[in-house]
Symmetry: C2
Subunit: 208 residues, 2 copies
Amino acid sequence: RIAEPTIERIVQYHRLLKEFLESGRTVVSSKEIGDALSFKASQVRKDLSYFGEIGKRGVGYHVDRLYNHIDQILALPKECRIALAGVGRLGEALLRHKAFRDAKYSFRALFDIDPGKIGKSFRGIPCFDLADAPKIMKRERIEVLVLTVPAETAQKAVDMATAAGTVKGILNFSPATLVLPAGVLLCSVDISLELEKLLFYLKYRENQ
Amino acid sequence: RIAEPTIERIVQYHRLLKEFLESGRTVVSSKEIGDALSFKASQVRKDLSYFGEIGKRGVGYHVDRLYNHIDQILALPKECRIALAGVGRLGEALLRHKAFRDAKYSFRALFDIDPGKIGKSFRGIPCFDLADAPKIMKRERIEVLVLTVPAETAQKAVDMATAAGTVKGILNFSPATLVLPAGVLLCSVDISLELEKLLFYLKYRENQ
Ligand SMILES: NC(=O)c1ccc[n+]([C@@H]2O[C@H](COP(=O)([O-])OP(=O)(O)OC[C@H]3O[C@@H](n4cnc5c(N)ncnc54)[C@H](O)[C@@H]3O)[C@@H](O)[C@H]2O)c1
Ligand SMILES: NC(=O)c1ccc[n+]([C@@H]2O[C@H](COP(=O)([O-])OP(=O)(O)OC[C@H]3O[C@@H](n4cnc5c(N)ncnc54)[C@H](O)[C@@H]3O)[C@@H](O)[C@H]2O)c1
């Protein structure tokens, strides 16, 4: 069973506590938080205790302290050192997208196997040969890899990029089943799920 | 307040009811469903009543009937007629991605303003001039638009594509604030949120 509260629930707590804070409330119970968000009070208590927030029996939590704690939890820590492998259509679209150019994402290196791309810079970020990944990942202390390579070469890219042991997490877009070293977190993204959600909501509106 | 149950909750009900069905359960209460998923029983009842499932007081719901109903709800209806505007890096990456080539997504038309793309076919789908969108959207009865154009021309693309009145929903990737005709559902996607989630989960693991 997953013990960590989902980021979605934490964002909801954050928003709700901000409202409570702004409306002048000083104390709030897990039941009140649960009622406002349709969670069970026990789920709220479990989530908050995960962050060391125990609450006072019969009283609850101090709104300002809880809000500040969650605010801190949501704040991304130091700048995160990221590399991207596969400077193709999707890779380039991500690098050019406004939100990825935010200062908190520090793209330090790109990797590709196409000689036409190796040695070039994309938005000021140098593109290296995948063969040099072990030494570059180590030199740049890269913690996160964004994987936008085709399915057939995805495992190779993962093996090369994780060889130096610096990578803690991979954001994977390729439709490949990957084998990762122990301790590396894999997050796979499938944008077609968003299309599926839209079609689902359109179906509902028709049913009304 | 959003009255529709989120697709995420419905998928959870679906999975849980399947388990109940397979373990031979015939009846289940909203409290049991809620306890298993950490939702309030009242939330479960509200969600299910949205689909016309009222349940019997003191008894609950028939597992097989409820499961079949939700199964039907989750099944995507007829093939959905889709157009994509902006055949650039992101647009092409989506068209080439395995999951978007599923038979249930019927991409009927592409639109662009680049003369080098107009008149060509991408994965067998013809690309038209955005100026012809009103007549093409009407002829092909397009219900969903995928918008992968730059922010500065996004509103123009929306205006042209919705002029014929066939579009019911837009899956928007551009970082633009859009004005839509009444009744058109807008779903905006920001892939950088996935990177943010990964960084957040990595931060947690460090805190353990
Ligand atoms: N998850 C999603 O929602 C989603 C959406 C679109 C595309 N995709 C996937 O993203 C991937 C890339 O799609 P695309 O359209 O950008 O492809 P593309 O062919 O345009 O780009 C692939 C790039 O990766 C490079 N490459 C190949 N093998 C490599 C390796 N081992 N190491 C480093 N670089 C390597 C190629 O030289 C090329 O530059 C595909 O697997 C596609 O299915 C996923
Ligand atoms: N939401 C996300 O997570 C995400 C991720 C990556 C990119 N993006 C966004 O997607 C958009 C496209 O990015 P890209 O890298 O593919 O850009 P691109 O420049 O490679 O492609 C844009 C394409 O749109 C065409 N175009 C321009 N105006 C048009 C119009 N009015 N109607 C039809 N076609 C038009 C261009 O001719 C070109 O073919 C950008 O807004 C970018 O910020 C979003």
